[in-house]
């Protein structure tokens, strides 16, 4: 199988409804920035793939707006997934394996703050048995968090520690949204539950964002990037939808994807885990077999900025950046989708 690498990453600062730009206007600068960083233009791109969801803004074909941010003449090879942009990256990786092109552009965008994400995500639930109950995403995550506590696998204090660490790390990330020094004890004492046992700090912020990643085949990657992040393994798996059919305290799909991607084959320096809720980091670490020596979410992760449909691609961009900037040799990038970690995509990125 051909070697493919991430060679560039650009993102917009994550924020909440502060940006008047539409989707095309959000994408245009970061597309040109991501390509420009490695000396490419849109003419060098052989395949373009985007990830987004119509329901974020309640309009059909919202992805057509992404095409409006692109140079598309002469006509381009282009596709779209109704998934997080990390899955668009997966499609682009598959496309590059074909061998006829050497550069792919991946992007995603979302203005989640224009609607109410927890309610929008209820529409992912079973339309016969669950959707009518209005099970929002915070409540379903809370059911999982409770199960984790009841199983003796975590405490609220653990959740608070993760939130504090994430937001402290986010202070080093100019693109993060929620950052600063927080006190775990104070959170546990003073913050009311949004949906017990989840407090606000254990939940992701509402974020608008956009991200763009450039992939290249090995030879091209070496020519345009001093330290490409090679994709050594990538796989995604799903599990049953019904919460009542799953053991919510583990993530079988993340474990399977991690095994297939080869996470455990060697030491991992850094992992960017897409854990929108604090407790999900604990489940994911266990599923992927990441021990305490692994630096988790130096970017601050999804607790610091969670632009729906973009946060997963951002994890890939951040993990790759740790390789590209020399601070890590081997990194794990992860994206999740669906309620309570239903679907998981895992990749292992390495320097040469």
């Amino acid at each position: 199988m051909r070697d493919i690498a991430i060679v560039s990453f650009a993102q917009l600062p994550s924020e909440r409804r502060a940006d008047p730009r539409d989707e095309a206007e959000m994408l245009e600068p970061i597309i040109n920035e991501a390509l420009g960083k490695v000396g490419l233009t849109q003419d060098d791109v052989g395949f373009t793939c985007s990830g987004s969801s119509d329901y974020l803004i309640g309009r059909p074909f919202s992805f057509v707006a992404a095409v409006d941010g692109l140079k598309a003449w002469p006509p381009i090879r282009e596709s779209h997934v109704e998934m997080d942009g990390a899955f668009a990256l997966y499609e682009a990786w598959v496309r590059l394996l074909h061998g006829d092109i050497d550069v792919a552009l991946v992007m995603s965008f979302g203005k989640g703050s224009l609607g109410s994400i927890p309610d929008v995500l209820n529409l992912q639930n079973d339309p016969y048995y669950v959707q009518p109950l209005g099970l929002d995403s915070i409540s379903s995550a809370a059911l999982q968090a409770r199960a984790l506590i009841d199983a003796g696998k975590a405490t609220e204090k653990d959740f608070a520690d993760i939130a504090v660490r994430s937001r402290r790390d986010a202070m080093q990330n100019p693109f993060a949204q929620v950052k600063g020094e927080f006190d775990a004890k104070k959170i546990l004492k003073e913050e009311p539950y949004l949906a017990s046992p989840l407090r606000k700090s254990f939940c992701p912020p509402l974020t608008d964002g956009a991200a763009c990643v450039v992939l290249a085949t090995a030879e091209k990657a070496r020519a345009i990037c001093s330290r490409p992040a090679f994709i050594r393994g990538i796989d995604h798996r799903v599990e049953a939808n019904s919460l009542g059919l799953r053991d919510l305290t583990v993530s079988t799909s993340a474990r399977l994807a991690g095994e297939r991607a080869g996470v455990g084959k060697a030491k991992v320096d850094v992992a960017e885990l897409h854990a929108p809720f604090a407790h999900q980091e604990i489940i994911l670490k266990e599923a992927l077999g990441l021990d305490s020596s692994v630096r988790i979410n130096p970017s601050g992760g999804a607790l610091a900025a969670n632009s729906i449909m973009t946060a997963g691609l951002t994890r890939f961009g951040e993990a790759a950046s740790r390789i590209m900037d020399g601070s890590a040799k081997r990194a794990v990038a992860h994206c999740t989708s669906g309620a309570c970690l239903q679907q998981n995509l895992v990749a292992v990125l390495e320097a040469e």
Binding site: R17, P20, R21, D22, E23, A24, E25, L27, E28, P29, I31, N32, Q42, Y55, I57, G58, D68, G69, L70, K71, A72, W73, K111, L114, G115, S116, D119, V120, L123, P127, Y128, Q131, P132
Partner: protein, 302 residues
């Protein structure tokens, strides 16, 4: 005065009926919304249950729990209910084969009109609110739709973006703005986030004319859910003077069969005091009366 003698007479009495093991069990079950049938010796299920089948052979005494649904086997619409009918408003008498049974139960069926009824349709039990252990614990049957209503209600904000905002602000002033492509000099109405030919921003705005050439059009005659305009209406692609691609708007002020490709049209603006931040400040485009543009002059815009 008639030669014949007559006087009103009412026969009225409330009987006290014993029910035996089968009917008694069935009607008692109805109190708890339990619907049962009984098995016959030859393996069939009867509902309502009896101690015997139609040949007189005893039933087995084995009860089978049933779902409160079935198929309409026959029906009659009662448009004018009689005094002894269970309802004052129109309804149907019906024979219903409860699912899993081999006989029919006689009951009434509630519907708004006979148009809703069709032999073979699915029906369900509607339980009475107050139950007394009688056959009227089944208030009636009703058509059972296979459709589950799934209302979705989500509230969003719509932010039109930088370029479209500039465009809409233009309409507040009675101006139509386009964005200029840096690479080609072509003017796009409305302005777009990035040029299709070089992917760069088109943030130089120019005002274009409120008149131009109708390149092509359609007359919409189909109504649909959520439609704001009432059909029939005509909308068309108009290349405004000073712009380089068609923009879409309503065409009116002319009979539909006189609308043609190449026709010169101009904006019919609302009265100034009614202007908002909206493309709808232009009510529609109407013919200018100028000669039509030759086909070659706009064929590249089709």
């Amino acid at each position: 005065m008639s030669d014949h003698l007559a006087a009103p007479y009412t026969f009225e009495y409330t009987y006290r009926r014993s029910m035996g093991p089968v009917i008694g069990r069935f009607l008692e079950g109805l109190r708890y919304e339990i619907l049962e049938g009984v098995k016959t010796a030859d393996g069939r299920v009867l509902c309502p249950p009896q101690e015997y089948d139609e040949t007189g052979a005893p039933t087995t005494g084995e009860f089978v729990q049933l779902r409160p649904t079935g198929v309409l086997k026959s029906w009659t619409w009662v448009a004018e209910p009689r005094e002894n009918h269970p309802r004052k408003t129109p309804f149907a008498f019906a024979l219903v084969q409860i699912d899993g049974t081999d006989s029919c139960i006689t009951h009434i069926l509630d519907a708004k009109s006979p148009k809703e009824l069709e032999t073979g349709m699915r029906v369900r039990v509607r339980w009475a609110k107050e139950k007394r252990g009688t056959i009227q614990d089944i208030e009636c049957f009703e058509p059972s739709s296979p459709i589950l209503l799934g209302p979705v209600h989500l509230d969003f904000s719509v932010m039109p973006g930088v370029h479209q905002t500039a465009y809409l602000r233009g309409f507040e002033q009675g101006k139509i703005l386009g964005g200029k492509c840096k690479a080609t000099g072509k003017v796009y109405v409305p302005p777009r986030g990035a040029s299709p030919v070089d992917g760069q921003p088109m943030d130089e705005y120019v005002e274009v004319a409120d008149r131009g050439v109708l390149t092509t059009f359609t007359v919409v005659r189909i109504p649909f859910e959520g439609q704001k305009l009432t059909p029939p209406y005509c909308f068309g692609a108009i290349v405004l003077d000073g712009s380089d691609l068609p923009f879409y708007h309503l065409i009116s002020g002319v009979a539909y069969d006189e609308i043609r490709m190449g026709m010169r049209v101009k904006a019919k603006w609302k009265p100034r005091e009614e202007w908002e931040t909206s493309v709808e400040n232009i009510l529609y485009f109407e013919p200018t009366g100028e000669p039509d543009a030759p086909f070659e002059s706009y064929s590249e815009h089709l």
